[in-house]
Subunit: 195 residues, 2 copies
């Protein structure tokens, strides 16, 4: 899959809570920055505190959450950025809507595949514990569904891999070749790639 262009793309990381999406997103960001490529992490938790603070975790509001994510990611891409989205986005339909809003040619779906048991063991914010105790309703993987991607553009099984290795695997799967200090326009292989 060749996703090169003069502009960046939206790289959409989906997966369970605590699967490692945001950590991996920041590892990817570091690699883009090292290659003098402008990139940005659009993080679910941050958007939930701001733009999407009016939304609950009901199926309907989750759809709206993902729709807004996609719209904002599209605007950010418009400014010439690579946009790395970290968003549980549990429904196939929601991710397909995101692909449609952003444009299929500019959208890459990446499955951050971490077993539920691992996520629940990590539980960095104690959310799984609360969900099991019934304190958080409609928690993805416990009391709300997670529909895994059926044909993602990249699929990373995280067990046994460091976040750095996961980031590298994603960029490789998406044919995004970044060399330290070499921007895309100067890249020996990529400079002639048509936008």
């Amino acid at each position: 899959m060749d996703i090169f262009n003069r502009r960046g793309k939206v790289i959409w990381l989906t997966g369970l809570s605590a699967a490692g999406k945001t950590t991996i997103a920041h590892e990817m960001l570091t690699r883009f920055e090292q290659a003098n490529e402008r990139a940005y992490v659009l993080d679910g938790d941050r958007l939930r505190r701001g733009l999407n603070s009016d939304l609950t975790y009901s199926p309907e509001d989750r759809r709206e959450n993902v729709r807004r994510f996609a719209e904002v990611a599209g605007i950010l891409r418009d400014t010439g950025l690579w946009v790395i989205v970290s968003c549980i986005s549990p429904y196939v339909a929601g991710r397909e809507q995101a692909r449609s809003i952003i444009g299929p040619e500019n959208f890459a779906e990446v499955f951050i595949d971490t077993p539920l048991a691992t996520c629940e063991e990590r539980d960095p914010k104690g959310l799984y514990r609360k969900a099991r105790q019934g304190e958080i309703p409609e928690f993805t993987g416990i009391t709300a569904p997670y529909e895994p991607p059926t044909s993602p553009d990249a699929h990373v099984r995280t067990p046994g891999k460091t976040p750095e290795e996961c980031a590298a695997a994603i960029l490789s799967a998406l044919s995004i070749l970044l060399e330290e200090g070499v921007s895309r326009t100067e890249h020996p292989v990529l400079k002639d790639v048509q936008s």
Copy 2:
């Protein structure tokens, strides 16, 4: 008013429909680009087609429209851009919420002051005509209020001025000095300004 910083600011243009906000915003964008400053126009009509396509023009939805505008402008600023917002934003309270979301130190309110009669005469999209005929409910200036800013950071009375002159007047009022081909960091006056 000194609004310099390593990052850009949000320059929020408010005014009636057809007041010239978007045209002036693009004139400002050109000046930023000429000075090698990264800037972006966040346009009301565009957001209404995408992110805010679920909103009506009721007072409540207008508030939500402005809130989302402010959240997105804040994210764009986060990426290092100057953000020029073109948004009717008819209520004082809505603009104050925007200032609060973005942070007062990063927000400049600019009143694009064009008399209603002039806007209605221009009527580039035929919206005023439709509003007068009752085909569009709650149209700002006709059947919905516009609350002008009481102490904007810049106030441009557009009659008799070209969009270029309006853009220059705004940048001057906000002490944003741009010289062609000279970026902020290289600017003889500005390079030592603390971020």
